[in-house]
Structures are given as structure tokens and as C-alpha cells.
């Protein structure tokens, strides 16, 4: 059948990325003196980045059929709609 060793992404490298990003996050949150308007988007950005690394490589979504990817992201717009609508409450 196929060769015994399939090509795997370099998982250890991803792990290093994740560790570094976490360190940066902690740095941004506690060591920097940036205003909150910058810190929060930056932290969210790093969190999403890390989440993507996990989903795409560790959960190998990147290598799955496209349809599975679609299935996996169906709930996300629903979640966003919910949170945004309920938040708009406080604009009254």
C-alpha cells in the first residue's frame, strides 16, 4: 500500500509557535504600557492565531476535505450573530 511514513507537518515547530505566542500575549498583557484599545485587539488577534494553528495543524483541518471544513465552521457565524445582537442591547 502506501509508504509506511506519511509526511506529517512539523508538529514540534507548531508547539514552539504556540509557546512563543503565549509568551508574547503575557508580555503584552502585563509588561507593556499600551492603552487598552490596543491591548485587547492584540490579545484577541494572538488568541485567534493560536486557535487557528491548533485547528489547522493539530486537528489537521488544513488537510481534510473542504466539506468537513465547512461543517466545522457552520456554528461560528451563529455564535457571532448571537453575541453581537445581545450586545447591542446596551446601546439603548
Amino acid at each position: 500500500m502506501e509508504t509506511a511514513h506519511r509526511k506529517h507537518p512539523n508538529y514540534v515547530l507548531i508547539w514552539v509557535y504556540l509557546a512563543i505566542l503565549t509568551a508574547i500575549e503575557i508580555g503584552v498583557a502585563f509588561m507593556s504600557h499600551l492603552p487598552k484599545q490596543i491591548i485587547i485587539p492584540a490579545l484577541v488577534f494572538f488568541a485567534v492565531w493560536k486557535a487557528l494553528l491548533v485547528a489547522l495543524y493539530f486537528m489537521h483541518l488544513k488537510f481534510e476535505p473542504r466539506k468537513l471544513l465547512i461543517l466545522a465552521i457552520i456554528p461560528l457565524p451563529l455564535a457571532a450573530i448571537f453575541v453581537l445582537a445581545a450586545m447591542s442591547e446596551h446601546v439603548w
Binding site: A19, V44, A47, A51, L68, P75, M87
Partner: protein, 234 residues
């Protein structure tokens, strides 16, 4: 696929009338389940965002109430257990179901899975330690316990009184349910380890259990990445 082989390769999807999602049942089932988990955490995390957005005052700075260094270490633990999990998957996919081999040095399924179980169990342990300490200091799901350290912080204005109740509610509910998920993961993985991995039931042609529990594991890790950022850092 043209090669005829005697082994049934369970990693292939069943043959529906038309292409399904091109993945086998258990994996599809797990992904579908994870979609529902996303909605479950949407309820919890969404409520947190909504409550915090509409809160009657500023939120307490995390570092004043929580023990961030311990949790940072815990985060690191969980990331490590994620990489060991994926190493276990890669090992079994390559047919390496041994524990350790020394020349050349390589870890097999049994090694990496055990490492993952230990990592997960340690995470839960550290979280239990964190909780006991927080409760000891007077930080409760309902807010600050009277006469406690946290209550003093509230009294001195370091921690806003108006939102400490919400802080406790959302903190314990979100991290608690995450911890519950990790615990479930550790238990199921131990079960698979003992009944399947150790007994040599996994092979290059059938490692569905490893892949499926791996998906769950990484998902729980992913949730933690979000939680750590929004609960402990922001």
C-alpha cells in the same frame, strides 16, 4: 487503492450513494459533536462577553484576583499535552505502536498517549490547586467572601465591588466547564489506552480511536486558548 491488500483499512469512509464528507463515521461523528460543543461554549463565553460589556462598572484586573503565573504554567502544560497528542496520532498513523525505541530514538503511540494523559491530569490537578487557593482567599462563584482577602481588596477599591459577583460567576462557570471537559478527556483517553492501545488494537489500518479522541483533545485545548486570553489576560 488499486493495490489489493488483505487488510481492511478502517480509516476509509463507508461508501454512501454519493460522496459524503469523505471521512469515516467516527471522525464525522466527532466533528459533528464538536460543532455542538462550540455552541455550548458560545452560551458560556457569549454570556461572559455580554455581561462584561454591559457591566455596571469596570472589571477587576485579573492579576489582582487570580494567580496568573500558575495558570500561565498550566496553559503551557496543556499546549504540551496537545503536541504529545498529535505525536501519538502521527506515530500510529505511521504504524509505530511501540512505547520507546532507542536506536534510533523514537517515541511510539504508547509513549505519546501516556504523556498526553499525564499532561491532562496535571492540568486538572493544577486547576484544582488554583481553585482551592482562590476559594481560600475568598474568591467565590458568588463574589467575595466576607472578611476574606478578596473582600479587603474590594473594600480598598482595588477590585470593583460592582462587578466582583459577575467576575466570580463567569470565571468559575467557564473555567469549571473547561476543566470538566479536560477531565472527561483524561478519563476516556485512559480507557482507550488501557483497553486498546496497550492491547495492540491500534494499527496503521485502524487508529480511529486515537484520531477521534485527539480531535476532542485539541478542541478542548483550543477552548482554553480562548479562555486564557479573555479571562486571565484581558
Amino acid at each position: 487503492m488499486a493495490h489489493a491488500t488483505a487488510t481492511v483499512d478502517m480509516m476509509h469512509p463507508p461508501a454512501p450513494a454519493e460522496r459524503g464528507l469523505d471521512v469515516y463515521n467516527n471522525k464525522l461523528g466527532m466533528w459533528v459533536f464538536l460543532a455542538s460543543e462550540v455552541m455550548f461554549f458560545t452560551a458560556l463565553i457569549g454570556s461572559y462577553i455580554i455581561l462584561r460589556f454591559g457591566a455596571p462598572g469596570p472589571w477587576a484586573p485579573p492579576a489582582k484576583v487570580l494567580n496568573v503565573p500558575v495558570t500561565a504554567f498550566n496553559t503551557f502544560l496543556l499546549i504540551c499535552s496537545s503536541v504529545t497528542m498529535v505525536k501519538a496520532y502521527a506515530a500510529v498513523a505511521d504504524g509505530e505502536t511501540h512505547f520507546l525505541r532507542f536506536r534510533p530514538f523514537s517515541g511510539g503511540l504508547k509513549f505519546w498517549m501516556l504523556a498526553t494523559i499525564i499532561g491532562g491530569a496535571m492540568f486538572v490537578g493544577v486547576q484544582a490547586y488554583e481553585y482551592t487557593h482562590l476559594v481560600h482567599h475568598g474568591f467565590l462563584p458568588s463574589g467575595a467572601r466576607e472578611g476574606s482577602e478578596v473582600a479587603e481588596l474590594v473594600a480598598s477599591g482595588v477590585v470593583p465591588a460592582a462587578t466582583i459577583g459577575l467576575y466570580g460567576s463567569t470565571f468559575y462557570t467557564m473555567t469549571g466547564f473547561h476543566g470538566f471537559h479536560v477531565t472527561c478527556g483524561v478519563i476516556s483517553m485512559t480507557y482507550l489506552y488501557v483497553t486498546k492501545a496497550l492491547r495492540g488494537k491500534y494499527s496503521r489500518h485502524d487508529y480511529r480511536g486515537v484520531e477521534v479522541i485527539g480531535l476532542y483533545w485539541h478542541f478542548v485545548d483550543l477552548v482554553w486558548i480562548i479562555l486564557f486570553t479573555i479571562v486571565y489576560l484581558i
